[in-house]
């Protein structure tokens, strides 16, 4: 799809950058946790829009259901009972892909074009190109991608890239009854987040803050957290970044040097042979060899 290629800013395992002649507006989804009532409409909407049907599970003794993200559940409400300042808080967080500006999944992926970042900020998987190695799962600082056993490909929230492409909001945003989920340009959503944080602080949530981690160069899904000083209480990593181990492991420079060295070893052998010739036992006849 010619238009599709023009829209891509970054592509996995691709040394040369894509054409990206078309620059679209950067979008973002804002999740205002203070307005979330944990109704799971977003979970249901995501399943509906993407035709996902996981197997019926069992009750595991928790509101968080299913217990984890998986290849058929790209959006999950997570419930945490936390003691904060001597009072019990029931914290509810919508978990899913953060659509990082510097995605760890894209960095780790060895299959060219299997993970792409669009100019609007959406990070998308192209399942056709996926080889099922799971490197993206290790690369992600938020542990989001999930491998589907049946086809050995990874899946995650697409920020409804198909809906966004035709000017609609993601299915989850459309379904949210309290407007805890909002969608718009990234600039707009940052402004709204700042307003919400100010209002929450005015109401007594002294530590309300946005969660838009700089360690991954910011994300296109970010939160307003009433207890912004302790993202861990919501199950979010405190200061996420692409792990330095992943940076070294998938460093293009390190790997380039590695490949060069391997060839250099062979070249050294050839040069040595050209200079010194074979090691031959005296008396052994030279056969028809170079």
């Amino acid at each position: 799809m010619a238009q599709h290629a023009l829209d891509i800013v970054q592509s996995s395992a691709t040394t040369f950058s894509s054409p990206s002649a078309r620059r679209t507006l950067e979008v973002a989804k804002l999740i205002d946790v203070s307005r979330c009532i944990g109704c799971k409409a977003c979970q249901a909407a995501c399943l509906e829009w993407n035709d996902l049907r996981g197997p019926v599970g069992g009750f595991e003794g928790a509101y968080t259901n299913p217990p984890d993200l998986d290849d058929q559940n790209w959006c999950l409400m997570r419930f945490h009972e936390e003691e904060i300042d001597g009072a019990l808080q029931w914290l509810i967080l919508k978990d899913g892909c953060m659509h990082c500006a510097d995605p760890g999944c894209l960095r780790a992926c060895p299959a060219p074009g299997a993970v792409v970042r669009h100019s609007n900020g959406i990070v998308d998987f192209d399942q056709e190109k996926c080889i099922g190695c799971g490197y993206c799962i290790s690369g992600c600082p938020f542990d989001i991608p999930r491998l589907r056993r049946e086809d050995s490909r990874v899946y995650k929230c697409t920020l409804c890239s198909d809906r966004v492409a035709v000017g609609l909001a993601p299915a989850c945003v459309k379904s949210c009854p309290t407007q805890a989920l909002m969608f718009g340009s990234r600039g707009e959503m940052h402004a709204v987040a700042a307003e919400r944080v100010a209002e929450l602080r005015g109401r007594g949530y002294r530590n309300a803050a946005p969660y838009d981690p700089p360690g991954v160069s910011g994300t296109h899904v970010f939160y307003v957290l009433p207890h912004g000083d302790r993202p861990e209480a919501y199950g979010l990593p405190r200061d996420p970044a692409v792990s330095p181990v992943v940076e070294v492991w998938r460093s293009p420079v390190a790997r380039g040097i590695g490949v060069f060295t391997m060839f250099a070893v062979l070249a050294a052998g050839i040069l040595h042979y050209m200079r010194h010739g074979p090691l031959q036992a005296p008396g052994e006849k030279e056969e028809n060899e170079p």
């Binding site: 019926v56 069992g58 009750f59 595991e60 003794g61 928790a62 509101y63 009972e81 019990l88 029931w90």
Partner: protein, 163 residues
Amino acid sequence: MAATAKLAALSDPTRRRVFELVLRRPSPVGRIASALPVSRPAVSQHLRVLLDAGLVTAERQGASRVYRADPRGLAELRGIRSGDMVVVRSRRGRIRLAALVTKRIRPLQVEGNTVHLVGLPLHWGFDGLTRPGHLVNTLTPFVGDPNVETPEFKAFLVDIQKA
């Protein structure tokens, strides 16, 4: 602890106030005494009675002892964790189901007795698209209000044990 012992322990109005303060917030003797027009030794004496009646527990914290109403919820007392299978029994029947343990529902203190709450959502039955399970209506009383013709299915006594 026998109900009479607990009621007797709360017969004294000052002692009742001591208990109410401890209920609201776990406290050492000093803090309770400063909130009441009674001496420290008097408060200590009241606390000893409440301790013997099983209404409060004491915990050593540094140099002082902190008194609190028994904080353990029913789940902890019965060794039930989230996800465990339990049997819930009422006069009318018993059902077997998985438990969810939450701090959001706290035990009530009613006339010196701790009354625990067990919530049973009516989400499943013997027939349905998801896995069938015991019908919660097995436990509910057949009590109705004839004035408004509304059945009272909501609140009833149960016992809950790990299955």
